[in-house]
Every structure is written in structure tokens, then in C-alpha cells.
Symmetry: C2
Subunit: 314 residues, 2 copies
């Protein structure tokens, strides 16, 4: 009988919807997994386990959670799932605690996270383009709507080993030799959908049934592709404006029932990641000299709404 | 002793914030004024009078209100204050009831209302560019924040007489020989401010303290001016993008404490006038072949938010 390889000890840093889902998949598969998150989450998981709601099933998974970063000490695989805004600060906090041979996988929105983690914590950081529609209807409960796969890169012994670990936990994982392009492809989809879902208060499926909203999506996509071209980034499978739009439409179709994470954040009075999404395109476009009025307008509106969160018209 | 001229009998059609304010000024001056509005408004005014809240005073004005359009029958001056979306339908409803010698003044947002009223009701309709920041915190109460003046045109015996009647009621009124340009100038200010205030949930004063929001305003202004130029409309006092921006900034400064009417509508789950504002520029721009991505995006987002009003993220 061949021996099953041991699991690495796994820490989930930033246990929100994405961290809860992927960490939950590992815990469910029997890997020693600790979730590091807010007290409400941690208390809920330690007392009742992590509840993983899927369309076909509901599972209660025994899991350990902590609020203190020192829980990363023994872990050799770190699923890094904090909001893009918090990447550098969290990585700095993690730096003195993390094992030097640990691998940090950035399951985050935005294209710069792995670079920021490397710079702040001097560890191996692997970027991942994540496609999953999940939400957290209450602390300790993760509701899965669609997909749940990731692409990592570049190809190496380390990423091959990593992909095998993910796949062993039931998580579909691909290795790409153009991971930067993959992250930009995810960014393109985020830019095209997140702010519209948030500002219009609509699900992805409602966006793509609306001719005007699709027109706005196309304007966003065109701007993102112009910035990508100027930055010499090649998005896999995207060779023109129509195929860029098709990629975003495809995501919206697969996740038709989902509100964007930006919509979820705004509706819960939490900071959004808009700086790393339409805000990133707006900044890069202005630096490079590419016209980005729609991305800039959406960034600005989400930012205003975020700063006014919790207040209402008198 | 010279005899004071008689007041015309006045009907306010569409007694919201703007109708309540200007009708209230007439009622306050002693003009026989009837407000035609929703039952909640009508009941409140008939039982307690119209309350006019100004920064320096609060007045309770005895006034008559009705819910039925037949109240226009005896009136020779009609202040037409319905939402721009309702212009044609309301004018058609009014057509068989209105006196043939009546004058309808359109105190509305948008540039096409007087034409629509003429077409639908075959009456004299005078367009007015109205500048006033008002809200209705409760039925029958009108809260005045800033300005309260209007521009009508073109110059004629009728508009001269009208202006004198407004001025007699304490309402500042100017006559312009470029009323189309005046309406577009108001439209430019509405386009630059209303949707940002609504989607960002911010007052005008907060918009103009935010560098990104001012950048979005400028993008909107540039698009409006490009459409105006293609439509051969000359906006008074606006000779370039900077002076267009200055006009919008000026309004935002004067009305710093105000939320736009679009913001008020969205927050109260009411239809907005966005079709006649950024939506008008988006439509005209696309017809003429002028690029209008920001106006189109703002129109689309307000429209989505409006259609989803009353619902929330689960």
C-alpha cells in the first residue's frame, strides 16, 4: 500500500469569503488548517466549525481559528487572502513570524500582491488568479455560488507541487507560463463587473441582460486592454476588444447569481478593493497616458460611496 | 393711490420640492394658488398649510391643494413642475382642462419640456432654467437650502409680464434671448453633479473637495460641451472646457449643503430624471457621433440602481 503524502500545515491569513472557502476545502480534506481572522469569525469557527454551503450540500467542517498572526509559525503553506489594500501591512506583520521555507500563495484580487508580499516579508510568494463566487452570510458560514478554481505560475517545481496539493484538496488548479497575463485577465473581469454590480446594486446576471450596462462593460474592457497593451501585458485568449468582452461576459454568465465582492463590501459598510481594480487601471492609464475616463469614474464613485458608508441622506 | 394689479389664478402641477417652493412663494405673497399633487401632500397642505423652512425662518402658509387635475380649470398661470419623465403624459392629461389663454411655465430639469408640453397640450409653454436647492423632508414641508431664481425666455410681452409676476412674488427672474443655451447650462450643471451626488451618496460640497470627483466632473462637462457644440447650442458664459467646469463648480459651491434631486429620488425609492440629464447627453451624443462614455456610464448606473430600488443584497 503506497503511503499518502503528508499534508503541509496550512494557515489561512485573512479568513473572509475566499479564505474561508479554500481553507475550508483543505480542512475538509483532512489537512491541518488554521484560519486567522477577525474575532467574530474565529469564535464562530472554534465553537461551531466552519459551515460550507454549496448548492448541493451543506457541510459543517471541524476547524481551528485564531485572531493572532503568530498562528502562522508552524505553517509551510500560507493562503494569503486579505483585501488587496491590506497586503503590505499584513505581510509586514507576518514577516517576523513566518517560516523561511514557507510558501505564500496570494489568492487575491489585483495584480501586484505577490510582489508586495515578497518586498514586505522576504518570503516565496506565488500569485494566483482565483475564480470563485462566494459570500459570508454570517460569521463562520461560507456560501459557495460558482466555480472555485485557480491558476498559479510560473511553471516550476514549487508551483507543480503546489498545484498537486490544491488538486488533492479538490480544488481545480492550473499552472500558467503567463501568470501576469492571467492576473490581468482576472483584473479585466473585476473592472468590468465589480463596480457596476456595486453602484447599480445588481447581480452579474442582471448586468449582462441590460444593453446599456453591457455597453459600459465594453467601454471598461477597451480601456483596460489599452492600458495592458501600453504596459506590454498579453492577456491569455484575448486578442481584441471583442474577445476581452467575451471573457468578462463568460464570468458574468457563470456567476449570474452573484453580487461582486465590491457590492458586498459596500452594502456591509466595509472598505472595498476598488483601488486595486478600476483604481489601478485609472492610475496606470494616467501614468502611461492612456485615456481611462470610465474606469476613473467608477473608481471615484465607489470610493465616494465607501467613504460615506453608514451615512444616509437626511 | 395706485391699484395693485390683480394676481392671476395660479396652479402648481406636480407639487414636489420645486413646485412646493415656488408655489409657496406665490401663496405667501397672497396670490390665489392651488397645488396639484399626491394625496399625502394634498392632505398635509389642506390640514396644516404649506410649511416653508428657510435658514432664517419657518413659515406656515395657508394654501389649497388638490389631487385632481381639474383644479387647473380656472387658472391662467400654470407652474409645471412634474418630473421630466412625466412631462408628456401630464400635459396630455391637462390638455382638455386647461384654459386656452393660460401660460404654462416649465420649471423642470431637462431641455425639451416646453416643446413636449406644446406638442401634447397645444398651449403656450415657456421654458425656465431654475436654480434652487430644496427638499421635502415630510409631506407639506419644503426645506429651502439655497438660491431660488429662474431664467425664462425668449424676450416677449408675455415673458416680460411673467417675469414681473415672479418678481412681485419675491422670486428673482431674468429674461434671456438665449433660453435654449440657458437650459443647456442648467443641464450641464445637472449632468456634472446629480449622478455623482446620487451614486457616491455625497453633498455637492463633498464632490468639489475631492480631486478625483472634480476630474470626473470635468470629463462630464467636456462631453456635454462636445454634444452642445455638435448640436450648435451656445451656452451663455461658457467659451471653453474651463469655463464650463467653472459654471458647475459655482453651482456646487452655492449649494454645497445639498444632495442632488437624483440622490433624493434614489434614497426614497422614486424614479429619477436621469433619462433627461446624463441619459439625454448619452442619447444625443450617440446620435450625433460624439463620444460620451462617462455620461453614458453614469446614466446606466443610476438607471440600474433605480430599477433595483427597494431591494438589497442578501
Amino acid at each position: 500500500m503506497s503511503k499518502t503524502p503528508d499534508w503541509p500545515r496550512i494557515a489561512v491569513v485573512g479568513a473572509g469569503a475566499v479564505g474561508g472557502y479554500f481553507g475550508g476545502m483543505f480542512a475538509r480534506a483532512g489537512a491541518p488548517t488554521v484560519f486567522i481572522g477577525r474575532k467574530r469569525f474565529s469564535d464562530a469557527v472554534n465553537s461551531k466549525g466552519l459551515i460550507l454551503d454549496k448548492s448541493e450540500s451543506q457541510e459543517r467542517i471541524a476547524a481551528t481559528a485564531a485572531t493572532d498572526m503568530s498562528a502562522v509559525r508552524d505553517c509551510s503553506l500560507i493562503l494569503f487572502c486579505v483585501k488587496a489594500n491590506d497586503t503590505s501591512a499584513t505581510a509586514r506583520q507576518m514577516a517576523p513570524l513566518v517560516r523561511p521555507d514557507a510558501t505564500v500563495v496570494c489568492l487575491q484580487n489585483g495584480v501586484d500582491n505577490a510582489n508586495e508580499v515578497r518586498a514586505a516579508a522576504n518570503v516565496v510568494a506565488v500569485p494566483a488568479a482565483v475564480y470563485v463566487a462566494v459570500s459570508v452570510p454570517e460569521p463562520g458560514r461560507v456560501k459557495h455560488l460558482a466555480r472555485g478554481d485557480l491558476t498559479i505560475g510560473p511553471p516550476s517545481e514549487r508551483t507543480t507541487e503546489l498545484a498537486n496539493i490544491f488538486i488533492r484538496a479538490g480544488i481545480s488548479c492550473r499552472i500558467s507560463d503567463n501568470i501576469e497575463g492571467e492576473l490581468w485577465l482576472k483584473l479585466l473581469c473585476n473592472c468590468a463587473l465589480n463596480a457596476i454590480s456595486a453602484l447599480g446594486n445588481v447581480r452579474y446576471g442582471e448586468i449582462i441582460q441590460n444593453a446599456d450596462a453591457k455597453h459600459v462593460m465594453q467601454d471598461i474592457v477597451d480601456e483596460v486592454l489599452a492600458v495592458a497593451a501600453a504596459a506590454r501585458v498579453v492577456l491569455p485568449g484575448v486578442h481584441d476588444q471583442a474577445s476581452g468582452m467575451a471573457a468578462a461576459m463568460n464570468i458574468a454568465t457563470q456567476m449570474a447569481g452573484a453580487f461582486s465582492s465590491t457590492a458586498q463590501d459596500l452594502s456591509r459598510d466595509r472598505p472595498t478593493e476598488i483601488e486595486a481594480l478600476n483604481g489601478y487601471i485609472a492610475r496606470r492609464g494616467m501614468e502611461i497616458g492612456v485615456s481611462v475616463p470610465v474606469n476613473h469614474a467608477l473608481f471615484t464613485l465607489v470610493k465616494l460611496a465607501e467613504q460615506r458608508r453608514g451615512t444616509s441622506i437626511s
